[in-house]
């Protein structure tokens, strides 16, 4: 996977790496010159750094949720293992 996402930089050293969203917008401009979006987003991040920050926040939020429940599931299975272990122990010793 690392190769997948590092390869672009090796194969395309001079490329601009602009987002495909922006490229879509440029393409629309090319196809239909003079097209102006008829409405603007209600709020836009003041700079691309802020936008990157907000994307990071989004990723962190999602990762937090996933990580939390991974922990819950693993702990849950640990409890079940301990339960069944003590059950079989008590069965074996007859207590």
């Amino acid at each position: 996977m690392v190769v997948l996402f590092v390869a672009p930089f090796a194969l395309n050293p001079g490329a601009s790496y602009s987002g495909s969203d922006d490229q879509g917008g440029e393409l629309i401009e090319q196809i239909q010159t003079g097209y102006k979006p008829w409405i603007q987003p209600w709020w836009q991040p003041p700079s691309s750094e802020i936008q990157s920050l907000l994307f990071s926040v989004q990723a962190a939020l999602g990762a937090l949720i996933i990580g939390y429940y991974i922990g819950v599931f693993k702990a849950g299975s640990g409890v079940m293992k301990a339960d069944s272990k003590s059950k079989s122990q008590s069965e074996a010793t007859g207590t």
Binding site: M1, L4, F5, A7, P8, F9, L11, N12, G14, A15, S16, Y17, S18, G19, S20, D21, Q23, G24, G25, L27, I28, Q30, I31, Q32, Y35, K36, P37, W38, I39, Q40, P41, W42, W43, Q44, P45, Q51, S52, L54, F55, S56, Q58, A59, L61, G62, A63, L64, I65, I66, Y69, I70, V72, F73, K74, G76, S77
Partner: protein, 233 residues
């Protein structure tokens, strides 16, 4: 990708909203029904939604020399089916339109159609086909996630090509848009497939029992021909 705010003129943005609302409404109904019948699925719903949240936030470079985002809908589809996935997707879209100016509210109908409905439906069909063919769960998951991701972008290209036809007409426009979107997306969809397999393996290992209970198509089944269309009670 997400079509940006204001880039779908009337009547198109209304049309896509009208197309998207019934599946999402049905998805909301299914989600509430599922959560009521099986409250233990709430963590799974959260994980599936969070997976979409994380993956669609990642701006990743592609061999074409530009960047794009994966979608993350593969897990949600195999766990819960396309209708619930459309709901999880639209939540993420609202988040992104509100806080990131990524996508938009007018274009959300079209964006949820590509990412939350069409992509997942294709993913669902791919999964079913894999199961009939008898392929292993991990491989099925990879194909489902990767193809759903790719198809989402193919649909976005179609949506834009319909509106912006230019001098060359629809096909010419379509080829141009797909060259930007679909080709760029190929390495990303492969990456998404791999990530989805990792998550899928984990979920089946730890919650395979619950998945079987809710008749999720992700649940490991003994038979090769699972029941079609029946995922939840």
């Amino acid at each position: 990708m997400h079509i940006m705010e204001g880039f779908l003129p009337s009547p198109w943005w209304e049309i896509w909203w009208a197309i998207a609302i019934p599946p999402v409404a049905y998805g909301i109904y299914k989600t509430t029904k599922l959560a009521k019948a099986y409250p233990e699925t709430k963590p799974l719903l959260a994980i599936a939604g969070a997976f979409i949240l994380v993956l669609s936030s990642l701006k990743l470079p592609s061999v074409t020399g530009s960047c794009s985002h994966p979608t993350g809908t593969g897990i949600a589809v195999v766990l819960f089916g396309p209708w619930i996935t459309s709901v999880l997707s639209i939540i993420v879209l609202v988040f992104q339109a509100t806080f990131l100016a990524h996508g938009g509210f007018t274009t959300m109908g079209a964006n949820d159609f590509s990412m939350g409905i069409a992509g997942p439906i294709l993913g669902y069909l791919v999964w079913r086909a894999c199961k009939i063919a008898g392929t292993r769960g991990s491989i099925s998951m990879f194909l489902t996630a990767a193809l759903a991701d790719l198809f989402t972008y193919v649909i976005t290209g179609i949506q834009l090509a319909i509106v912006f036809q230019g001098a060359g007409g629809f096909m010419d426009s379509l080829l141009k848009f797909e060259a930007v979107y679909a080709v760029t997306q190929i390495p990303l969809s492969i990456g998404e497939g791999i990530l989805s397999v990792l998550m899928y393996d984990f979920l089946v290992k730890y919650r395979g029992d619950l998945l079987k209970q809710i008749r999720s198509i992700a649940a490991p089944t003994e038979t090769v021909m699972p029941r079609l269309g029946g995922e939840t009670r």
